[in-house]
């Protein structure tokens, strides 16, 4: 990693009720009555997205990553900063969406630049925007993954 942070988890910084186990796993409590710390999507949406990612990665042997969160004031620079911290960054396609800024950024790794070139990244953006403008976030992500996987080929 370019910007390595070590150690990745500092036990003193963990919230109340969280502990670092000897294996390095973070163990935490769930207070009764509070909202679960889950992504705010239905199980069905998550399964559909997982299937799309799995099929795309399996068909193309290119890793598809989806980042959902703030990208800063400059979404393009934010996506550039996210890419090195994703798994297998050089052999991956990153679809970064910032819902608060209404921005979608697609990046592909250097090792797959010939297969996932600018034109194919633009295909993914176009496919996602059609659903995003109708308010369907997960549908847009799924179509972007499918369209890009189909365009990249085997």
């Amino acid at each position: 990693m370019a910007s390595s942070k070590w150690p990745a988890v500092v036990e003193a910084d963990l919230p109340h009720g969280f502990a670092l186990t000897s294996s390095g796993r973070v163990s935490g409590v769930h207070e009764p009555g509070t909202v679960f710390d889950e992504v705010p999507f239905t199980d069905r949406e998550r399964v559909m997205l997982d299937n799309a990612l799995t099929e795309a990665t399996r068909a193309t042997k290119v890793r598809f990553n989806i980042y959902l969160g703030d990208l800063g004031n400059d979404p393009a620079a934010g996506a550039d900063a996210v890419l090195p911290n994703t798994p297998e960054a050089a052999d991956s396609v990153l679809i970064a969406v910032s819902p608060n800024q209404g921005a979608i950024e697609v990046r592909s790794g250097a090792h797959v630049a010939e297969r996932a070139n600018d034109r194919i990244c633009q295909l993914g953006v176009t496919a996602a925007l059609a659903s995003f403008r109708q308010g369907n976030l997960i549908d847009g992500l799924i179509s972007a993954v499918r369209v890009m996987a189909a365009a990249i080929g085997r």
Binding site: F36, K61, I66, E88, S98, G102, A103, L137
Partner: protein, 92 residues
């Protein structure tokens, strides 16, 4: 003891106890918490960033050295830009 009494004592009382205890289980909440409200585009995204990936899948990168494997050997601050192949942006 008539048949009716036998049934009441040996079936009626156990059944009453059974349903009383079973009914107690409905007093508590079924789940110890709530799921977060569903997110729709247009709302403010307050959740921490999410990264989704098909982590169990083997890709072409698994066999040969990738940029990450060199990362522990060399300072890669300048290589961030070299990591990027294609790019595209959009607004919605």
């Amino acid at each position: 003891m008539s048949i009716l009494e036998t049934v009441l004592i040996f079936v009626g009382i156990p059944a009453a106890i059974y349903f009383a205890i079973a009914g107690l289980s409905y007093l508590g909440k079924p789940f110890p918490g709530e799921k977060p409200a569903h997110f729709a585009l247009g709302q403010k995204w307050t959740h921490s960033p999410v990264l989704w990936s098909a982590t169990d899948e083997v890709t072409a990168a698994a066999g040969h050295h990738t940029a990450e494997s060199h990362g522990s050997h060399a300072a890669l601050e300048a290589a961030n830009a070299e990591l990027i192949g294609g790019r595209a942006s959009g607004k919605f």
